[in-house]
């Protein structure tokens, strides 16, 4: 038992929607008077337009969340926006109280919910290192000891006696994170700090975190949207959805479960009748589907996964030379490829087709597919835009870097290097 750092039992947190209280003393006193002295209904239950505010207009930001973290373990918390991740961190950091439940633990906690907590923009970098350090819970001697290291990590030696308001935003963030990175609590709570700074700095931060958890044996709780970072840095993960625990356990498994539900959104489109089906007088597209060929048992489309696009359509003209083209776009609209085939003579009726996209070809990101139907390789009959959309997750092994991989495509062309001379 004694190797457990934090144990949370049935944590729930209730928030009321809308304004809490009325924010005005007059109306609160009026409510109180009517309720208690006159034993009437609260007149302020009826807000604008005489509509009654239902007492059930409350939201459980967290509902019966249970988990345990062992000493030295790194727990990643994932979930959509509004899933309750930040609320959970705030409860663990003692900033807000849970409505129900209890958290027990041992060891000192530092939480890093934003960078630059307590920075004063008028003061110099030097002053701010001390202020921020103290607010985050460091002792004076501790800060003095690590001062040079912090300045060095942030790379702001030349500006240490300049007010931080004159810093570039990058320098500001680096300095702020540098202070936080040198905290040495038993339990470290981190919220989305990786969203800051350039790729180079993110690499530094993740390296620091990795060092903290693997070498120093520190317990880490980490919220991030960078799922690669979670599955590589954390041993355990907790998936929250609308305040409930969806899954918990091994980080890689939970991340993949999360990804696969994210992805199964727009993989198939089928239309029963001709009139429903999108198209025009020439073409009616009856069915489109994206079929991934999963590499392993985990049903996640990642960069290794080959994909097949299948489609079926109705051709209204008899005896035409027809070709179908598949266009693949990134979510921001850049076309990755435009593939087609030699036109073929088709009779009036139903036509099927498919296109195979190999694995190890697309980079991670969001994509959509459009279909183009062309007669005589020159006349466009119909252009079916954004008929399928899908996401490709990242996958990395044995790589100590979690920034965004560059490029629209990520093929596995071999790169070969050899040493041609040796200089001793």
């Amino acid at each position: 038992m004694s190797d457990i750092a934090i144990q949370a039992e049935n944590i729930s947190k209730l928030y009321r929607l809308g304004t809490i209280g009325s924010g005005s003393l007059r109306r609160d006193m009026q409510s109180w008077w009517e309720r208690n002295a006159l034993k009437k209904e609260n007149p302020n239950q009826y807000i604008r337009g005489g509509k009654k505010v239902d007492n059930s207009e409350v939201i459980w930001a967290l509902k019966n969340v249970d988990f345990e973290i062992k000493v030295g373990e790194a727990l990643g918390i994932i979930g959509h926006n509004g899933a309750g991740k930040s609320t959970l961190l705030k409860i663990l950091s003692r900033i807000v109280k849970p409505t129900e439940g209890i958290v027990r633990g041992r060891g000192s906690i530092s939480s890093l919910l934003e960078v630059g907590t307590g920075f004063h923009s008028e003061l110099t970098g030097r002053e701010n290192i001390f202020i921020s350090g103290h607010i985050l819970g460091m002792k004076k001697s501790e800060i003095s000891r690590k001062f040079d290291e912090i300045v060095d990590f942030a790379g702001v030696e030349a500006f240490i006696d300049t007010p931080v308001k004159r810093y570039s935003s990058g320098m500001y963030v680096r300095l702020a994170f540098a202070v936080a990175a040198h905290l040495e609590p038993d339990i470290l709570i981190i919220d989305e700090v990786l969203a800051v700074g350039d790729a180079e700095f993110q690499k530094k931060c993740l390296g620091k975190m990795n060092e903290a958890s693997s070498k120093s044996g520190r317990t880490i709780i980490f919220v991030s949207h960078n799922l690669q970072a979670i599955s590589n840095l954390c041993s355990k993960a907790l998936w929250l959805d609308k305040g409930n625990v969806c899954a918990r356990g091994n980080a890689k498994t939970v991340v993949n479960q999360y990804l696969s539900t994210l992805q199964k959104q727009n993989w198939i489109k089928e239309f029963k009748t001709m009139t429903e089906a999108p198209g025009n007088d020439f073409i009616r597209v009856l069915y489109t589907e994206l079929t991934p060929h999963f590499v392993d048992a985990l049903s996640v489309v990642d960069i290794r996964t080959p994909l097949t696009v299948k489609f079926r359509f109705y051709n209204a003209n008899d005896g035409i030379l027809l070709a179908v083209g598949v266009h693949l776009f990134t979510i921001s609209g850049e076309c990755i490829f435009d593939v087609s085939h030699d036109p073929l003579l088709y009779k009036k009726g139903i036509i099927e087709g498919e296109c195979h996209i190999p694995g190890d070809f697309l980079n991670d990101g969001s994509y959509y597919i459009s279909l183009i139907f062309v007669e005589d390789s020159s006349k466009q009959l119909y252009y079916y835009e954004e008929c399928l959309s899908f996401e490709v997750a990242d996958f990395r092994e044995n790589i100590n870097w979690y920034g965004k991989w560059m490029g629209y495509v990520r093929p596995k062309f071999p790169v070969i290097t050899r040493q041609t001379e040796i200089h001793e």
Partner: protein
């Protein structure tokens, strides 16, 4: 946090987080462990106050000086309020120095929540540390003003305008403590109220301005008509001004019962302030 055994009865936890807040959850040992933070916050506010200013901390002197000059012109030269033979400048400076101590502590402490929402919603430490650092900062600024007062007083003493009595002089210390305490306690209560009801902030500024006229800042209690004396004595601050002036000048009507009353009032309001502040500080984070 309390040390309690968990439901399994085996492990000893170092801390636990539970719903609800007790009225009294301050442990002096925990507060002491945050003393570095307290000093650092005071330092931050002090330095922040005078960044990019021409005169820096001298502003702590310039403000009372300008106020005193205005008061002397308006209340003594134009209206003609008697000062019992004391140079009007010294008379008003004494009143204003003590008034500033009270009003600044009260106003700044009552801003604790509104001004620190950002930090409070991101980091945990006992919230009262911020209020204490405000108190500490205001005491330092008061110290600077007190030096000015002493300088003016010594000038008047050496030019034979006033007498000095060491025994009376020591009275300034209890007076300062009680005044600061009442300001701090009231500030704590209002910091909770203004966080909840923003409209109280403007009301409070008005009240503090009017309160100054009720307190014997630029007049003595003896000028108050007999039928209103009891009302003036009900104000726990009145005696403090009388005593403060008495400590320097040996004038005014002072009695120790009144001072005890003020002291009792201070103890009550400080305790009440701390209790309300503690009870509400966790809840306020949810609505700020």
């Amino acid at each position: 946090m309390n040390d309690k055994t968990n439901s399994l009865g085996s492990a000893d936890w170092e801390w636990e987080i539970k719903p609800g807040t007790s009225w009294w959850n301050i442990s002096l040992a925990e507060l002491y462990s945050f003393k570095d933070l307290l000093l650092q916050l005071t330092r931050k506010e002090f330095l922040g106050l005078y960044q990019q200013t021409l005169l820096g901390p001298f502003w702590a002197l310039i403000r009372p000086l300008l106020t005193v000059i205005t008061y002397v012109v308006v209340f003594n030269e134009v209206i003609g309020i008697p000062t019992e033979g004391v140079p009007p400048f010294l008379f008003n400076l004494i009143g204003i120095t003590l008034w500033n101590l009270f009003s600044e502590i009260f106003m700044q402490t009552s801003n604790t929540f509104l001004q620190n929402v950002e930090i409070f919603s991101k980091v945990y430490f006992p919230r009262i540390i911020v209020a204490l650092s405000t108190l500490w900062l205001q005491l330092i600024l008061f110290g600077i003003q007190l030096l000015l007062l002493v300088a003016v007083y010594l000038f008047c003493y050496f030019t034979g305008l006033v007498d000095f009595n060491a025994g009376q002089g020591l009275l300034i210390f209890p007076v300062i403590v009680i005044t600061a305490g009442i300001g701090f306690g009231g500030g704590l209560i209002f910091s909770v109220l203004t966080a909840k009801y923003r409209d109280l902030l403007s009301l409070m500024q008005l009240v503090i301005r009017l309160l100054m006229f009720i307190c014997p800042v630029f007049y003595t209690m003896s000028l108050v008509p007999q039928k209103f004396q009891w009302l003036a004595q009900l104000n726990p601050l009145s005696t403090l001004f009388e005593y403060f002036r008495f400590a320097f000048l040996g004038i005014g009507s002072v009695n120790s019962i009144q001072l005890l009353y003020s002291f009792g009032f201070m103890v009550v309001i400080v305790l009440l302030g701390i209790l309300i502040f503690n009870k509400m500080s966790d809840k306020l984070i949810d609505i700020l």
